[in-house]
């Protein structure tokens, strides 16, 4: 088991954003998390990625408790998150953004040998592996034509793809995607799905949260649904979507009875 969430709870004052949620993600799996707005999906990802600390519960990454770790340490062990509203270094070009994101890759590859980069006569300041991966990831995210464009000039859909590209540069074992399809048009969603299909082919483990039901049904192997912070269903995407409690959460009680 790659990731195991045990009884995770997060309170904000009187509000319980995530309530006693448990689930697991296996290797090479794509887990979709459904839920209407405000159901605690983003909070859940923020807890896993270390951006927020849980009130209680455990987060086991390969049987190791990573609960309470700083985001950079969580990222360093291979759990990387994208943001719903993409966060980018707007003053830099697409390629520079992705290059900064190669920090962990270089650290893993070189470790303390990076010190050699500081020597004035050091010729190996260019890292062919990193450059090759940059090219591959930018091509994967359909950004290869705009390497030198400033991130500030990208469309919303491209910004989201650059967010994914930057996360990919961290060589994640588990990629947490926070509403990758929200705010995208049909063409951009088709593009995103193609990227996710490529990621699946590369056997990257994914955890995707979204409230776009069709998108998740097409993408995920397994799904769970949240409502007001509580897990209300788990199974294949179709099982979850046909679960009366899920229908009720999305459409209201009359539809659930029908």
């Amino acid at each position: 088991m790659l990731l195991e969430i045990q009884n995770l709870t997060r309170r904000f004052g009187g509000l319980v954003a995530v309530s006693d949620v448990s689930f697991r993600i296996g290797e090479h799996e794509i887990l979709g998390i459904f839920g209407p707005n405000g159901s605690g999906k983003t909070t859940l990802l923020n807890l896993i990625s270390g951006i927020m600390r849980p009130t209680s519960g455990r987060i086991l990454w390969k049987s190791r408790d990573i609960q309470g770790w700083r985001p950079d340490r969580v990222a360093a062990v291979g759990v990387v998150k994208t943001f719903q509203n993409p966060k980018l270094f707007l003053e830099l070009t697409v390629r520079e953004n992705a290059a900064i994101a190669s920090h962990l890759m270089l650290r893993h590859q070189l470790g303390t040998r990076r010190i050699a980069e500081l020597l004035p006569w050091c010729a190996s300041r260019r890292h062919p592996d990193v450059d090759a991966r940059l090219d591959r990831v930018l091509a994967l995210c359909r950004l290869d034509g705009m390497s030198d464009q400033l991130a500030a000039g990208l469309s919303y859909g491209q910004e989201k793809m650059l967010g994914v590209a930057m996360a990919m540069m961290c060589e994640p074992e588990l990629l947490l995607l926070d509403e990758p399809a929200s705010g995208l048009g049909d063409a951009e969603i088709a593009n995103l799905e193609a990227v996710l299909a490529d990621l699946r082919a590369m056997r990257t483990t994914l955890c995707i949260i979204d409230h776009k039901v069709d998108f998740l049904r097409r993408t995920a192997d397994r799904a769970l649904a949240l409502q007001q912070g509580v897990k209300i269903a788990e199974g294949t995407p179709d099982e979850v979507l046909h679960n009366p409690r899920v229908i009720e959460a999305y459409l209201g009680r009359p539809h659930a009875r029908a």
Binding site: I51, P71, D72, L92, L118
Partner: protein
């Protein structure tokens, strides 16, 4: 361009024999070291440190006191000074960065530590001679291959000595910024939260930036003390910090060498037009305000974009 400027500076004393002009260059070089190193933490890492003057002053005092007490050379005296500045930087930096102080909170807390150091120095009469300051009579010596040991005495010797200090400062900053460390600094400046989710340990890299910047300021401080022959608590004063900020803003934050231009203008100008202290402060203020309003990218940044546009 940079190499050309350096070559010009190297041969300048052959053409210019005026002690007055060369003195302005020496001050500009040493304050340029301050401005370039301050730009590392301020311009490149985005942290408005007010501790820079403290590192400068602490190092000047400790270097002199060690030289005076133990009768050792400038270089041996510099070692405990750099070590102290390193320890103090790690302490102050750790406190600020552990508590995640940002922007003005970081500036205020580092200013408080800086004032603390200044007040200790000002009131520790038996060691520092308080507000009267210390007279420095010793001069640094440098061993050069083929030339034996030279004492840095006189304006021309100081010209080359301080130019070497500036070149060293620029070289250290350039190498750091060209490496992965520079990318981490940029990431922290642009978006800390994003940097952290990409696996960058922001505490470590902020501390590293603060440490390197302060160590380079420490070297500048010791040189300044030995050059002027006089060390006083005002070395650590807020005016010193503000002067350096003005130099960086005027020269431009975007490049390693930009602040040197700021240092030259703000050091040279008041001397060339012979101003009193009050008028000098007003000139500084006016330049600072006009720069922020009209040239947010500084002289060098604006010049570079004009050249690109042409």
């Amino acid at each position: 361009m940079k190499w050309l400027a350096l070559a010009g500076l190297l041969v300048l004393p052959l053409a210019v024999h005026s002690n007055f002009v060369l003195t302005i260059f020496v001050f500009s070089f040493i304050l340029g070291m301050m401005a370039v190193s301050f730009n590392l933490i301020f311009g490149f890492t985005g942290q408005l440190s007010m501790f820079h003057a403290a590192a400068f002053g602490i190092s000047a005092y400790i270097t002199y006191l060690t030289v005076n007490w133990l009768h050792v050379s400038f270089w041996v005296g510099l070692l405990p000074a750099l070590a102290t500045v390193a320890i103090v930087s790690v302490l102050v930096g750790s406190i600020c960065f552990k508590f995640k102080l940002k922007a003005f909170y970081f500036a205020i807390v580092t200013l408080a530590f800086s004032e603390l150091a200044r007040l200790v120095i000002m009131n520790w009469n038996s060691v520092t001679n308080g507000t009267l300051g210390l007279m420095v009579l010793d001069k640094p010596t440098v061993g050069l291959p083929g030339l034996g040991t030279l004492t840095i005495n006189g304006t021309v010797a100081w010209y080359f000595f301080s130019l070497a200090g500036l070149v060293l400062t620029v070289a250290v900053c350039t190498l750091v910024l060209r490496s992965w460390i520079g990318r981490c600094f940029a990431a922290i400046r642009l978006d800390e939260d994003l940097a952290q989710t990409l696996g960058i340990d922001i505490f470590r890299y902020k501390l590293l930036s603060f440490l390197i910047a302060n160590l380079l300021a420490a070297l500048a401080g010791s040189m300044y003390g030995f050059y002027t022959g006089y060390i006083e608590p005002a070395y650590l004063g807020i005016n010193q910090s503000l002067d350096i900020i003005a130099m960086v803003l005027l020269g431009g934050r975007g490049s390693v060498t930009g602040p040197i231009v700021g240092a030259f203008v703000l050091t040279g100008l008041p001397h060339l037009i012979d101003l009193s202290g009050e008028a000098r402060a007003m000139l500084y203020g006016a330049i600072l305000i006009l720069t922020i309003l009209l040239l947010p990218r500084g002289l060098v940044g604006t010049f570079a974009s004009l050249r690109r546009a042409a």
